[in-house]
């Protein structure tokens, strides 16, 4: 698949590296050159310095031929805007967007965006672990 990723932070870099290992064609965009150092040595895709909310940059990254677009910058609003550009201007088939704020997650998921909220996922996972642990503790004390 041709995939464009905006944001080469820890998640972006990990994603890009894994997808590239899986033989996908990846272009990853970031404002900061240094960010690309996070990429795995095995990364075989393209890096592009620029603003992922700029339609020209997205075009240069090949979004018009991409099957998927992922927005994982550290700013919710930038991810939201980039994802909507991919969706409404370029009609990219698959668009995934990270939104930390659970309230915004709700609103944009209702608009049809595929949203991942690490906040919600993290809190839920921890709740589950706490629940398991307290259950185990109660069982032991009997």
């Amino acid at each position: 698949m041709n995939i464009v990723i905006v944001g080469c932070g820890r998640v972006g870099a990990t994603l890009a590296s894994r997808l590239s290992q899986q033989k996908n064609t990846i272009t990853i965009i970031d404002l900061d050159d240094d960010a690309f150092r996070r990429l795995d040595k095995s990364f075989r895709g393209e890096t592009l310095i620029g603003d992922g909310t700029d339609q020209e940059i997205l075009r240069r990254a090949g979004i018009e031929d991409a099957q998927a677009f992922v927005a994982v910058t550290n700013g919710d609003n930038r991810n939201i805007m980039a994802a909507q550009i991919a969706q409404h201007i370029f009609h990219t088939p698959t668009v995934v967007c990270r939104i930390y704020d659970p309230k915004r997650e709700e609103i944009y998921r209702a608009l049809g965006l595929t949203v991942i909220s690490p906040t919600t996922i993290g809190a839920e996972s921890i709740l589950e672990k706490l629940h398991e642990a307290t259950q185990a503790a109660t069982a032991q004390s009997r």
Partner: protein, 232 residues
């Protein structure tokens, strides 16, 4: 009216002042505590600290009863989200966003933001209209009607010098509203005659504007000014 404004920069500040002078109820929101302190010296309780793209903040300040929400931060993505949340979550009737990058206007319109203001485009229009022998300049947009006000200058030695408006056979979408000839203001009628160097003002759609330009300049519809003007 109750108006909520996101972004306490220069634009937000002066906008708030003007609206307060017009006796509206205004709340200006800015993220930065120091800026808010500064602003509150002149604006008092009309400014508060908060991120206008947080649902919790907008809820706290009664966004659901705001008639207008205006986003004038320096970042297009923040302005987009402020307006989208206002519209989607709080059902605010009118949202206005400042769009710094003119190319983002199309996206904002698609996403239902009622009005976009691009300072870049406005200044560009002014500059274009100052260029001698400019071709067609978009002066203003009437969002709801899909119409714009344009100004075309009839060149010297034009092919239409001496023709009446009626004989130009303009499309229905073009309505000439004013002709300025030197210092003279002419109210156009069907039999008004067009002369070289006339400034023609028309209310028209985008397609109409291209057609008008082509007719006035007596040429095909390709235009250099297409790069300067943008889609509505």
């Amino acid at each position: 009216m109750y108006i909520v404004i996101g972004g306490g920069g220069q634009v937000g500040f002066y906008l708030t002042k003007e609206l307060l002078d017009q006796n509206h109820e205004v709340l200006l929101l800015d993220k930065d505590a120091r800026r808010v302190k500064q602003l509150s010296e002149e604006l008092g309780a009309s400014v508060a600290r908060g991120d206008a793209c947080e649902v919790r903040v907008l809820e706290e300040y009664g966004c659901d009863r705001a008639e207008v929400v205006i986003a004038v931060t320096g970042d297009d993505e923040d302005n987009l989200v402020i307006c989208q949340i206002a519209k989607l979550r709080f059902k605010v009737k009118k949202t206005i966003a400042r769009v710094n990058n003119p190319r983002n206007r199309r996206l904002f319109k698609k996403l239902g933001i009622d009005t976009t203001v691009s300072p870049t485009s406005s200044i560009l229009s002014v500059i274009e209209s100052q260029i001698p022998h400019h071709t067609l300049v978009h002066l203003a947009e009437l969002n709801r009607a899909g119409l714009g006000l344009v100004e075309v200058m009839v060149p010297q030695d034009s092919t239409i010098n001496g023709q009446t408006i009626r004989s130009l056979d303009l499309p229905m979408s073009v309505n000439i509203v004013l002709i300025i000839r030197g210092d003279e203001k002419i109210t156009p009628q069907g039999d008004s005659v067009i002369r070289d160097d006339d400034h023609i003002f028309a209310l028209t759609t985008n397609e109409g504007a291209s057609a008008l330009r082509a007719i006035i300049l007596g040429e095909s519809e390709e235009s250099e000014t297409e790069q300067l003007t943008e889609e509505v």
